[in-house]
């Protein structure tokens, strides 16, 4: 099968990474890509927007209030760290998100396990959970202030509300995906219900559950700013809100980028944990 193309030596299916492989290697559907090509493209994907941003702002035609340059953001990060207790802001924000997420996990894991295992529990709890899931966490702020107050617990509560209902349903889904044959094999081996729940269902779902925890942690992060709307006086979200009032766009940028970077770091941490905890999943090939 001869594909029409450049005259010359390039074969129809060149190996990626090979000199002259070029265009075709990049556009083979589901085709592999050499490590080198991947990193080159990834670097381009990150650097080009950064360069565009730098160029655009260095032209001097756009007001710094509208679009600060990367250097302005960096400078702001520096003063924030040195004068404005950035470390403290990061610390308190991380605490709030992790606490809300951890509280969610503490309840969602066992609850989701039961919902995913027993149809009766599913029938009882899933419709309610499904419904509450669509209620926006932001709208709960006045209720939370009324019921819990304005201390740390209220911020953790908002993060909890934003995270818990999604987490329960995802955990239930992970549990339901455990192959029936694994469960039935244990039944024919004489396992009790409790043993099946613990040694088969939970054990089998663990990789998926860790992934669910990673993904919901990402969602919990996005509720940080919402949570810190509740009469906060510290934290990254609070700083962004305050900066908005003073039109310190560079600080807004700094805050948002920092939240993104922290979230990414945590995500990578989870992925590493997944590789360490479940080596058998990530290593293929013979014994």
């Amino acid at each position: 099968m001869q594909a029409a193309g450049e005259p010359g030596a390039a074969p129809a299916r060149a190996l990626p990474g090979e000199r002259g492989a070029g265009w075709r290697a990049l556009w083979t559907i589901r085709g592999p890509l050499s490590q080198r090509s991947y990193w080159i493209l990834a670097a381009i994907g990150l650097l080009v927007p950064l360069l565009a941003w730098t160029l655009l702002t260095s032209l001097g035609t756009i007001s710094k209030v509208f679009l600060p340059g990367p250097l302005d953001v960096l400078v702001r990060l520096g003063t924030w760290w040195n004068e404005d207790d950035l470390a403290g802001d990061i610390g308190i924000s991380v605490y709030r998100v992790v606490a809300g997420w951890a509280l969610s996990a503490l309840i969602a894991l066992p609850l989701g396990l039961y919902i995913g295992t027993y149809r009766s529990v599913q029938a009882l709890l899933e419709p309610l959970t499904d419904f509450i899931r669509y209620m926006p966490a932001v709208a709960f702020i006045p209720l939370v202030m009324l019921w819990i107050g304005i201390d740390e617990r209220s911020k953790v509560a908002i993060i909890f509300i934003g995270t818990f209902f999604q987490m329960v349903l995802m955990v239930a889904e992970d549990v339901r995906r455990v192959p029936l044959a694994q469960i039935e094999a244990a039944q024919t081996m004489g396992a009790t219900r409790g043993e099946i729940l613990e040694k088969v269902i939970l054990a089998s779902a663990k990789p998926a559950l860790l992934d669910t925890l990673r993904i919901t942690m990402g969602w919990a992060w996005t509720y940080l700013v919402v949570a810190e709307l509740v009469a906060a006086n510290s934290g990254l979200g609070y700083a962004i809100i305050k900066a908005q009032r003073f039109l310190q766009t560079d600080k807004i940028f700094a805050g948002i980028l920092l939240i993104g970077a922290l979230g990414l770091a945590i995500d990578q941490g989870f992925r590493l944990l997944h590789r360490l905890a479940f080596p058998w999943l990530h290593a293929r090939g013979g014994p």
């Binding site: 192959p179 044959a181 694994q182 039935e184 094999a185 244990a186 039944q187 024919t188 081996m189 004489g190 396992a191 009790t192 043993e195 040694k199 088969v200 054990a203 089998s204 663990k206 479940f278 058998w280 999943l281 293929r284 090939g285 013979g286 014994p287």
Partner: protein, 289 residues
């Protein structure tokens, strides 16, 4: 308890029926998966169940294993009614039943984690169990993959692990639900001789479900032929071959004759004649003669 030609029956099905579906308002689809099934399997016997799709062979096996509740009749194992799964009836599934987070050895020793098997935790019993798992690894040719995980093994190796795991606690009855269905022909042949060898050594009673007629005749002492709509036992065939099987028996006259007979019966009961007529119509050829 019913007696078979070879003595007391270990597994007895009397008038077993199973109905699926059929809502309380009667608007659901009611499927009669099993109707009036009578079967007796002797202690130590290797029985195969064969039949077209929908004949209920898997349902019957699962009912004996306690994974399905039969709607009518009685299923007795050693005189006691079957009331759910139990350690006396181990099952080997077609696939996806091994535990991927455990190594081969840990999979085989899984029953050691269950209370039903570890009532007495003496040093002797633990040693005996470990010894048995080592023996099973040897028997099933798994020693070189003892510490591998199932996802690193081929389909044939995985089924060997599944069989070893089922045999670990010396079940009285081994129920096998098309265990070699996902394997290629060469691997299947090797597994046939392996399971025959193993079941002889272990003196297991085996009930083996398959859709492959050759497999059913080669492995079984008796072949139970089931028919669909409604699921029922059509006939039971004694296999006129010596108990110790060899691959060349597949070419013997008795083997081929029994195979022809069973295949013909399957075609009749599954209504496949109609399909052939339709095929001829589609290809536009007039039937000769």
């Amino acid at each position: 308890m019913a007696a078979t030609a070879r003595g007391r029956a270990l597994v007895e099905c009397r008038g077993v029926g199973k109905v699926f579906g059929g809502g309380s308002r009667g608007d659901g689809q009611r499927i009669i998966a099993l109707q009036d099934v009578d079967l007796a399997v002797a202690d130590g016997e290797f029985v195969t169940i064969v039949g077209a799709s929908g004949c209920g062979k898997s349902t019957l096996l699962r009912a004996i294993g306690g994974l399905e509740r039969h709607s009518a009749g009685a299923i007795l194992v050693d005189g006691a009614a079957v009331n759910g799964p139990g350690v006396d009836r181990a099952m080997v599934f077609q696939n996806y039943s091994l535990y991927p987070w455990l190594t081969v050895t840990e999979n085989i020793r899984f029953t050691r984690q269950l209370a039903a098997h570890t009532r007495e935790r003496t040093t002797a019993s633990v040693e005996a169990a470990l010894g048995r798992s080592d023996a099973l690894l040897q028997l099933m040719g798994l020693v070189h993959v003892a510490h591998a995980h199932p996802n690193q093994l081929s389909g044939g190796m995985q089924q060997r692990v599944a069989i070893a795991r089922a045999l670990m606690s010396r079940p009285r009855i081994l129920l096998m639900d098309e265990p070699f269905g996902a394997l290629d022909a060469q691997t299947r042949e090797v597994m046939h001789d392996l399971i025959l060898h193993v079941s002889e050594l272990e003196h297991s009673t085996v009930i083996f479900v398959t859709h492959d007629v050759e497999e059913a005749i080669y492995l079984g002492r008796r072949v139970v032929l089931m028919a669909p709509r409604p699921g029922r036992i059509d006939s039971i065939h004694e296999v006129p071959l010596p108990r110790h099987r060899t691959q060349d028996m597949k070419q013997s006259a008795q083997f081929l004759e029994l195979r022809r007979k069973i295949l013909a019966r399957i075609r009749e009961t599954a209504g496949m004649k109609t399909d052939l007529e339709l095929l001829q119509k589609l290809s536009g050829q007039a039937q000769a003669g």
